[in-house]
């Protein structure tokens, strides 16, 4: 039985088409449809309910040491208020999950994980606990909204004091307030646009949703569902757990080497990742030049020979074309080279392209 986020009734009222995702019932789209929701985020602003995401607190004297052992990124030089993305590996170098770590203060971290992995992650994290560390899964206490798009800051400024709006990308203000609602405002997102992720107590989520929707009405703010969240992240070349990486696909294969610090002291999975050099397979972008939509798990063929498979694929509304992410053999991976993708027995022409497909102008 799927759980409902605190905003379930609000979504139904807004015409949200509810589907199960990561153990929750969430809107895949509203009446406007995925294309319009996608375009709103690229050109204006959209509001997402992401309350399904899991939140874990990591506190205690050895928190930093523990995180550096548990995760592949390095958190040593983090300042209070910073956020840092990291994969979490198993001993074989596969990916348990990818997550964001916020540093609230010395020995006080807030970790945000994927909804579908929440229980697996918490067990994994607790199972590898070392030193003086206090862990707690606080997911049910928090609602999370994502306000995303070039107009996000303008809309947010209408409802909160400038001092609560983090000015730098990947930073957060933890003791913020939006019209009397205590919250954390983080300048992060999963869309490739500027924007904010706002955490508040579950019971205030509906109030927050309504006041943000009101504040954004003049700027064309619309509610956006999981469908647009997926097309937006794909257009921005961002990986999704369970697609571009999983328990067997390493973060380096998935193109996340920037968040794997091999020169750091031992961490879980380091030995396996060292042994896996050079990489046999790597992620690449696929742009469809023929007709049709490529989905996940289609074979990628070069010169008549299978070189890999797609991990995500769809029609991207802003670029107005069909694209896919794929994992292919490293020595067959060549940007610009023509390939074909086997879609239900039909070969569709495509080419390998660099990622991301879309990058916003700053």
């Amino acid at each position: 039985m799927e759980k409902k986020t605190p905003l379930y009734e609000t979504h139904v009222k807004c015409g949200g088409k509810m589907v199960p995702f990561g153990g929750y019932l969430l809107p895949v789209q509203y009446k406007t449809g995925i294309k319009k929701e996608h375009m709103a985020v690229r050109t204006g602003c959209g509001l997402f309910d992401v309350s399904h995401m899991g939140e874990v607190m990591v506190q205690g004297d050895d928190s930093l040491k523990f995180l550096n052992h548990l995760l592949t990124n390095d958190f040593t030089d983090m300042a209070d208020g910073q956020a840092r993305y990291s994969p979490m590996c198993n001993e074989l170098g596969g990916t348990v999950d990818d997550l964001i770590v916020y540093k609230k203060g010395e020995c006080d971290y807030f970790v945000v994980v994927n909804a579908a992995n929440r229980e697996k992650d918490y067990q994994w994290i607790c199972g590898h606990q070392t030193g003086k560390v206090l862990l707690s899964d606080v997911s049910d206490n928090y609602g999370q909204l994502a306000l995303q798009g070039p107009l996000a800051e303008k809309i947010l400024s209408k409802v909160t004091d400038q001092k609560y709006i983090p000015s730098e990308y990947y930073t957060a203000v933890f003791d913020a307030e939006i019209q009397g609602i205590p919250c954390t405002i983080s300048r992060t997102g999963y869309t490739g646009e500027d924007g904010f992720e706002i955490y508040m107590a579950s019971e205030r989520a509906e109030e927050m949703w309504n006041l943000l929707m009101d504040a954004g009405s003049d700027d064309g703010l619309i509610p956006c569902g999981l469908g647009a969240r997926d097309t937006l992240r794909m257009e921005a070349g961002m990986p999704l757990y369970g697609h571009e990486m999983n328990d067997e696909i390493s973060p380096k294969t998935a193109g996340l080497g920037f968040a794997v610090k091999m020169d750091k002291d031992d961490f879980i999975g380091k030995k396996a990742l060292e042994a896996a050099v050079p990489l046999k397979q790597r992620r690449v972008g696929i742009k469809v030049t023929g007709r049709g939509v490529v989905r996940e798990e289609c074979d990628v063929i070069r010169d008549g020979e299978k070189i890999g498979f797609t991990t995500s694929g769809t029609f991207l509304p802003y670029l107005k074309g069909s694209y896919a992410l794929a994992i292919v053999e490293s020595d067959k991976r060549e940007i610009g080279a023509p390939v074909q993708v086997d879609v239900r027995g039909r070969l569709i022409d495509a080419e390998m392209v660099a990622l991301p497909f879309y990058k916003r102008e700053k």
Binding site: V28, Q29, I34, G227, G292, V293, T314, F315, P317, R344
Partner: protein, 127 residues
């Protein structure tokens, strides 16, 4: 304007409009709404034969791909090629945006009328 009440319907959510010796085939408003924003359509060619209950094309939305099932048998005499560039016409006007026109058709009598189809959709949604 086409009155959806005058059309015939299949349980796989296609509509049929008979005009003399020919019949137009499209997908229903319910079908386009379930699929969401349409982005690609693969059409048959003129002279292709349609067999009732078998797919004759497919249609892709942002979310998913779906076969278009022949509601009747017949021979394709015309294909609505405008849909190749603008599949969203099916989202906008599902009963105007016909997909193929067929001749020598058979099986219209087995189709549902509008009220039977509405009931069928309601029952399907309740499941």
């Amino acid at each position: 304007m086409i009155d959806p009440k005058e059309l015939k319907y299949s349980k796989s959510h296609e509509w049929v409009r008979v005009e003399g010796d020919e019949a137009y085939i499209g997908i229903t408003d319910h079908a386009q709404e379930s699929l969401g924003d349409l982005v690609f359509i693969n059409l048959p060619e003129v002279d292709d034969e349609l067999t009732v209950d078998e797919p004759f094309g497919d249609i892709e939305s942002v979310k998913a791909v779906s076969d278009i099932i022949a509601p009747i048998s017949g021979v394709v005499v015309e294909v609505n090629e405008d849909l190749i560039d603008e599949p969203e016409k099916i989202n906008e006007e599902p009963y105007e945006a016909w997909i193929v026109k067929v001749a020598n058709f058979d099986g219209v009598d087995d189709l549902l009328d509008a009220s039977e189809y509405d009931t069928f959709v309601e029952e399907e949604e309740d499941e």
